[in-house]
């Protein structure tokens, strides 16, 4: 083991360095200047993000516990960009609410350790690392969900989240133990070789899958989602729905297509069922939501159901499309949450009704929201359309036309509720509309980045091609 191979963990080391530097700043910074910690954190994280784009070799260290490959690089960078946008969008919230309580460093520590957990989770080469990564990704977020300690909703959401996720991780652990029992190993590579179909391994898979499905909010493992999103600070809801879900999807993909490959006939069925249930239930619950956070929660559940379509195609097309869609989903959802965040900060309003007449007072915000929602709904020429279309293609390529049909019907239902928001913003006229306000530069930059992502990722095909070229690197 030498330094070079150690550098395969560049992302993790970089992020740890950021965390440590922040602690140092916290200690040495004058109390009056605590506000500038936010700027420092953003700058540091930006540097970290940029470094992330540097090329990196593939490899595996710690006896296969930590793996890295082009796909994971790409995805970690995507997560970085997502978190960066999220930070930009939450900067004002942090300044207004968190700094006052003198809790901003802790916020960054928790957020970044959660991100670190995700890095480890998706880079993991065995179930132990996976489990620890999962927990590291989850537990700090639980603290963040309850971060607004003065709000009952926040506390309630925190309780729900940590207890539910403990149950989920317990279940997943039981599943892993069964898998371990049938194969005698917790390493992915080794398990893939010896795993066979048996009742116990299937049961193990299902329990394990439910633990991960909890993170992705797949029906019927999704119930916590809406409540937690609603109670959590918007940044954290956004983080949960975007970053954490995205990372979970990737590791699910990696595990299913490598470790669980022998169980494929089984998990295809599971994915099929869960996908339908997720799309339908997510959509049907989203129909009648009035609170924007809750609304986006259900919408993100439904989106997760769409992502599962990609799993049905057991080839490079499927992998690429999953990653592609997750990237698009990250940007789209960040756009939507960003607008909700901006409005909530300026006015404290989070209900759909409050958005009535928004376009006439705040056209730019409304436009970003429209872009984001149309992208989520899959309207061309926005990125979401391409993502969804390719997901359908992936599913259809294996002959799952019925599922594709159900999916497109669901896409239509989802369009309905996205249009409800558009209706409130654009169609309605309201005397008491939210008055014009000017967002802070960070927020605007965050929204701008999200919008660019929404517009560009879809139409600019080299992105898809790049993902395609790296998409099966995780198989080796």
């Amino acid at each position: 083991m030498n330094l070079e191979s150690f550098l395969l963990m560049r992302y993790e080391i970089g992020l740890l360095a950021v965390i440590l530097l922040l602690i140092v700043f916290e200690i040495f910074l004058n109390k009056k200047h605590k506000g500038s910690l936010i700027d420092i954190a953003i700058v540091l994280f930006t540097i970290h993000t940029i470094i992330g784009f540097l090329p990196l070799a593939d490899g595996s260290i710690f006896g296969g516990m930590f793996k890295t490959n082009a796909l994971l690089h790409f995805f970690k960078s995507t997560l970085n960009v997502g978190v960066l946008i999220l930070l930009l969008q939450s900067a004002d919230w942090l300044k207004e609410k968190v700094v006052q309580q003198n809790k901003s460093t802790e916020f960054f520590i928790l957020l970044f350790s959660s991100l670190l957990g995700m890095y480890y989770m998706i880079s993991s080469g065995d179930f132990l690392m996976f489990y620890i990564g999962l927990e590291l990704a989850t537990l700090p977020v639980a603290a963040l969900v309850a971060y607004e300690t003065f709000k009952q909703d926040s506390a309630e959401a925190g309780v729900k989240f940590i207890l539910s996720s403990a149950l989920a991780s317990g279940t997943a652990l039981l599943g892993v133990s069964f898998l371990y029992a049938t194969t005698g190993t917790i390493y992915f590579d080794a398990m893939a070789e010896v795993l066979t179909m048996s009742n116990l391994s299937i049961l193990g898979f299902i329990f394990f899958f439910s633990g991960l499905a909890f993170k992705i909010s797949l029906v019927p493992f999704h119930f916590w989602t809406a409540d937690v999103y609603e109670g959590a600070p918007i940044s954290i809801a956004s983080f949960l729905s975007v970053i954490s879900k995205g990372a979970a999807v990737i590791i699910l993909m990696i595990i299913l297509f490598t470790v669980m490959k022998p169980l494929m006939p089984v998990w295809i069925k599971v994915i099929y069922m869960v996908s339908i249930a997720t799309m339908f239930l997510g959509n049907i619950f989203a129909l009648r939501q009035k609170n924007m956070k809750r609304f986006l929660a259900y919408s993100s559940i439904a989106q997760a159901g769409f992502i599962l379509l990609g799993f049905l195609s057991n080839d490079q097309l499927g992998y690429t499309t999953i990653i592609y869609f997750v990237a698009i989903y990250i940007f789209s959802n960040l756009g939507a949450f960003g607008v909700v965040q901006a409005i909530s900060l300026a006015t404290g309003k989070e209900n759909m009704d409050d958005y009535e007449g928004l376009y006439r007072t705040n056209p730019k915000l409304s436009l970003v929201m429209m872009l984001a929602l149309f992208s989520l709904a899959g309207i061309p020429p926005l990125a979401g359309f391409f993502g969804k279309f390719f997901l359908y293609t992936a599913a259809a390529s294996q002959g799952y036309y019925l599922l594709v049909f159900i999916a497109v019907v669901n896409a239509t239902i989802s369009l309905y509720y996205y249009l409800l928001v558009i209706r409130a913003m654009f169609l309605r006229k309201n005397e008491n509309a939210i008055p014009f306000f000017k967002s802070q530069p960070y927020m605007r930059l965050g929204l701008l980045l999200a919008s660019i992502g929404i517009l560009v990722i879809g139409m600019y095909s080299p992105i898809y091609e790049y993902i395609y070229s790296i998409s099966n690197s995780f198989l080796n």
Binding site: P220, F223, L287
Partner: protein, 638 residues
Amino acid sequence: MDFSYTILIPLIPLALFVILGIFSKKIPASISGWMGSIGLGVTFVLSYYAAYQYYLNGKVNGVYQPFIYKYNWMNFTDKLHIDMGVLIDPISVMMLVVVSTISFMVHLYSRGYMKGDDGYTRFFAYLALFSFSMFGLVLATNLFQIYIFWELVGASSFLLIGYYYTKPSAVSAAKKAFIVTRFADFGFLVGILIIGYYTGTWDFQELNNPEGSVITNWASTSFMGLSVLTWALILIFMGGAGKSAMLPFHIWLPDAMEGPTPVSALIHAATMVVAGVYLVARLFPMYYFIEDGFALQVVAYVGAISSLFAAIIALTQNDIKRVLAFSTMSQIGYMMLALGVSGYHGHDGLGFMASMFHLFTHAMFKGLLFLAAGSVIHAIHSNYLQDMGGLRKYMPITHITFLIAALSISGVPFFAGFFSKDEILTAAYENNILIYISSVFVAGLTAFYMFRLYFGIFWGKDKEYEHTPHESPMSMTIPMMFLAFMSIAGGYIHFSKYISPDHMPFEAHLNYYLAAIASTVGLIGIVLAFIFYKKENNLSERFSHAFGIFYKWTYNKFYFDEIYLFVTKKIIFGLVAKPSAWFDKNVVDASMIGIGNVTESFSYKIKGMQSGKFQDYAMGFISGGVVIAIVVFYLWIN
């Protein structure tokens, strides 16, 4: 011989229409009237010149040759296409003369009649459009061209009837005319389609060739016991019956009298309404040869019945224009029945010739009657017989011309109508005695109601008028006088020399025996009218009492309007359109909306799943896993 200049005959009115139509606001009334009149004057001259040239020189080996100038307008398939062009043959030339004469006269007349109307220019534009369409129809070289102009004629008729568009009755009359004829045209179009499909051509030359494949192969396909071509012809006749106001499509004609009187004269007396007759005459060889003239029989009976029916109704009407309208219908019935009883070769073609002859003379005297009626209406501003009386003193020219026309239509010897009607009766007598008897009866009725009008207007009681009526201006009386002249002189033309079904002239003579009977019946009618209406008396009322229910039925035109109203309002609207609109709203649309509503209410129904208790969520979580496991095991074990 070159008849290519005849193309100008429709084009001049078209040009007039375009100019007057587009610049209707810019062109002052004085100029537009003159423009129209001069334009039509030119066509008038051209038509007469064409007639002169054709009838004198158009024969080769004693047979009138058709002259065709056409170009391809639209291709449907390799075989089927629409040509636009002119077909010069005896009947089209004759029609040119009729149309241009009446149209020219009406243009002249309208300059006076319409004076001061704010839509003056528009009126002349419409007239020009109508003339264009009518010429196009007359000169058509194929069925589809005739259909095209047929529709245009209908549209211009719609515009002209609805000329006083602020008057609700005029508007509804225009609508009625258009829709009823449109319905008939539906038959016409289907007939055309059938002919196109089964024969592969619409060209008259091919269709009408007695030795051609169309006529010789008529029996090739049959449908419900009749040859498809017979069906086609019946359907085409349906179109003709619509335009010519034959039973049961006649209901629009009386209402159409809401239009300005010159329009009635032009369209609803002389030209458009005889289009149906012309159509049957156009396709006469087909009617005659296919299925041994079955379709022609239909024509004959429809004509005869319409003729009788209209004459009876005309007896009781009080609106003078309506009387004339029913009279027109009755006379067209005459023409139809004449066609229906006609043969093809030589003297057998008498009916055909008579029909055309009557068409010609009728155009003249009926046009005149309308113009004269217009003159009267112009003078006293009323259409109703009861508002009139004793006008002979105030309006001498009108009086005399009206009398001439009335005598002519009544079939009094030496007037034009006498000759043409006699030929018809002869033809009927030779072929179908039942129709003959009915026709003679109609002749008597015609004389009676015409003189009822005549006496009613010009004699009868002396009325006190608010404004003393006075004779119409020269612009109106000159055309009347010209037509009066034609109403007499027209009868002396030897039609049989020019017109026959097989284009070979033959010699037709007056049948003095039959002529005497008809004249006598006509005179009886006149005398009766004299007794009833010459002086004011209550004879007519007593008679109407005596006839009781029959009078009432007649007065109400046998309730045909009501039947139609019932059919359209109650059956089509009430039982078809309304239910389908209801169906659309409450079934089709509602089911689409219903899908949305069901989804949404489902959403509310199942909201309890998200109860807020995280232990419920955990139950969902575990039981979800368990259920998936059970399903998977179930699937996997099987």
